[in-house]
């Protein structure tokens, strides 16, 4: 088995899901018998490439060109597929980030490969690669046998462990690129960052507010708790549809699916579609006046009481614990 992992970078810095993917690929290669190499694509990425060795990459291929500074699905997909062919990779692993989910289908078609998206587990069974992935917004799981000669997997972020770097510097190899204008048929020109805000998709702690907060001004409670915890603010569909919070905070079936270590649902009833977006969180806390609210069925811990009374006290207690009080 030869595994090629696409290690996503933004601003020439590797993203955490890239380390998770590299580590997972190396473990799989060790189990199945084979080699795991990584690929970094960008305008100035040579210096970050060796660091992937610390997460298990046995070699890092570097595709560097000033035109690759911003993301282009057509150019990046072409590079990944060509490198996979050159390396004779039988498996391509890509983090299931916004970029990864955009790339994987194109790469799969270019390689005539089987594709499994947003996997939460992978295993070898009788010499075959089996990927487990959520369907129906996580209400069910399917086990998919990756039968093709070449396969592509995307891994859900924050599910596979990256482990700590052991400091190994991987050897690198520069890829000779012959990029043409038509490779940039679709090209990102600019990134609008929502300033200072941690995205729920990247947060390990999320505090979500629901309609029980009664009005947008009460989200200040959620923001304060999230800040003290170093987490992101999430929103239920009801408060997004009511215009209290922006759509990029929405957690749920028509929002984002998240798997943080800690999810605190405040005044959220727990509709099926919301649970679908967060029930795979490692620990769930529910604060809701209604002890029969469905959210308590998935919560690890809960307080069946008034959020307006409880949240300020919770924020203060956490501050005390973390020495921030």
């Amino acid at each position: 088995m030869k595994i090629l992992t696409f290690a996503e970078q933004r601003d020439n810095k590797l993203k955490k899901p890239a380390f998770e993917a590299v580590r997972t690929a190396r473990s799989l290669a060790a189990e199945a018998g084979g080699e795991a190499v990584a690929l970094v694509v960008g305008s100035n990425v040579q210096s970050v490439a060796p660091g992937l060795g610390g997460y298990g990459a046995q070699k890092v291929l570097v595709a560097e060109d000033p035109r690759l500074d911003f993301y282009s699905p057509t150019a990046y997909a072409r590079i990944i597929a060509e490198v996979a062919k050159l390396q004779k990779a039988t498996l391509v692993v890509i983090p299931a980030t916004a970029m990864g989910k955009d790339l994987a289908p194109r790469v799969a078609v270019k390689l005539d490969a089987g594709l499994a998206v947003d996997c939460t587990a992978i295993r070898m069974e009788g010499g075959a690669l089996i990927a487990t992935r959520p369907v129906y917004a996580g209400k069910a799981l399917i086990d998919v046998k990756m039968n093709s000669g070449v396969n592509v997997l995307t891994l859900r972020p924050n599910v596979f462990s990256s482990g700590a770097s052991d400091g190994t510097a991987a050897p690198t190899e520069k890829i000779a690129l012959a990029l043409e204008e038509k490779d940039f048929a679709s090209l990102v020109k600019e990134i609008k960052q929502v300033s200072g805000k941690l995205d729920v998709a990247e947060a390990d702690i999320i505090v979500t507010g629901g309609r029980g907060l009664k009005g947008p001004e009460n989200f200040a409670l959620i923001e304060q708790l999230a800040e003290v915890l170093g987490g992101a603010v999430g929103a239920s569909r009801a408060v997004v549809d009511a215009g209290w919070r922006p759509h990029d905070e929405q957690v749920g079936q028509t929002g984002k699916t998240v798997s943080p270590s800690l999810y605190i649902a405040v005044a959220v009833s727990g509709a099926i579609q919301h649970l679908a977006g967060m029930s795979s969180s490692k620990y769930i806390v529910a604060i809701n006046k209604d002890k029969d609210a469905p959210i308590f069925q998935v919560a690890t811990y809960g307080i069946a009481g008034d959020a307006f009374e409880i949240i300020p006290v919770l924020t203060a207690e956490v501050k005390k614990l973390l020495g921030k009080g």
Binding site: A77, G114, V117, A137, F296, L321
Partner: protein, 248 residues
Amino acid sequence: MKLAACINHVPDTATKVNIGPDGKTINKAGVTYVISPYDEFAIEECLRLKEKQGGDVTVISLGSNAHKESLRKALAMGVDKAVLLKDDSMRDSFGVARALADYLRELSPDVVFFGKQSVDYDNSAVGLMVAEMLDLPSVSVVVKLDIADGKVVAEREIEGGREIAETKLPAVFTAQKGLNEPRYPSLKGIMAAKSKPIEERQASAIQAKVETLAMRKPPAKPAGKIVGTDSSAVPELVRLLHEEAKVI
């Protein structure tokens, strides 16, 4: 402008999913099927582009006769033509994309729109596979779209912000919530849709590239602890999070 929206007919998002007798697919009994919600944004965007810039909108779906219900709803929203690519089998993303691409190659639209993912299998793959098969540029997860003289400026959602992407028609887009507000079919539209034809074609056959071995429910969560009913329970909650869960 020739516009095409590809839609799927899927269980509605309030469905309680149970595993069917084959152990690999959902139990269909009692399930309500609808247009996949993200596909509604795709249909709506095509209708708006037609209203602003002229042209016609074709809606396409691959599947059994049951998909005609969703195609009729799209016709009632105002699309001009509906096509059913007939296939009763279970296809993977590759198989769906191949059949759609074969039809779209013939139709040759300027804009092909999908929802960002189908809410049954959540693969987010078919639209982009079709783009690759047709050798067209794409922008996925689009929340804002401007097309003028064949030039496209699109905003797509990424972690912590948005990318502004540029491309030219013909191109493929996948729609994210927030792109627009899909219209409700008018009574006039519903009545008119009853007599609009749905063209039926046989979908091209294809070998699946992945095999679903089993579908199962996620592992049951152990019962949680309700530690109290007011703020006096907070210190215990914090203690549990710190000492037991070790997440803070």
